[in-house]
Symmetry: C2
Subunit: 124 residues, 2 copies
């Protein structure tokens, strides 16, 4: 499967996929609660607690209190976390670009269309 080949490209410096996905989600949406992150990644809250704690220990995200609801916690990227997102994307893009360069422009365009269709299916 292609997805496993992409993942394998994280190499030594990269994070496990679930951890990186959280960083990417925060990068795209800004600060989120653990509950929101769990729902977005379709995993249970305790699993997300674990992942977030791991990222906190690595200094890639930080928890802050919710301004009005003491039960909730806000998770957001640190500067190091933001740098990690950019670094990982750069590395993955380099690999994928190499692969895509083996296709014709027309083939790449068709691949792009297919991605949209798959997004629609996955969302339903």
């Amino acid at each position: 499967m292609a997805s496993r080949r992409v993942k394998a490209e994280r190499g030594d410096a990269g994070l496990p996929d679930p951890q990186f996905n959280v960083l990417a989600m925060l990068h795209a949406h800004g600060a989120m609660t653990p509950g929101q992150l769990a729902e977005a990644e379709r995993i249970q809250p305790p699993s997300m607690t674990r992942t977030v704690n791991c990222l906190v220990e690595l200094g890639l995200v930080a928890k802050t209190e919710h301004p009005t609801d003491g039960r909730q916690v806000l998770v957001d990227l640190t500067e190091a976390g933001r740098a990690e997102v950019h670094e990982t994307r750069r590395r993955r893009d380099a690999w994928l670009t190499g692969r895509l360069s083996q296709l014709t422009a027309d083939e790449r365009a068709r691949l792009g269309e297919a991605v949209e269709l798959l997004r629609r299916i996955a969302a339903s």
Copy 2:
């Protein structure tokens, strides 16, 4: 991701993905050694030993001695294993068919072309 939605469709009766993948591989290629299975799934031999043993305990595969090389072991589907492959495929196909029916025939055709392109990328 669509792949996670497909996997989620295994429901209560289904096997974890790596285990099912071994069944599917054996179904397609016939008996294989643990080493061949590990290479095909791109995991290390000890991991495959674990997965195969699990399937043996479930009665879905059986190990037999290699006819000429005493070091090697042959793994093959049992009847129950073959039935499991068919059952799981039937269930997954039912889900995917439902999703694909939301697309137009033209869109489905384009998706099929994209699959071929992705196969080429993954193989390289």
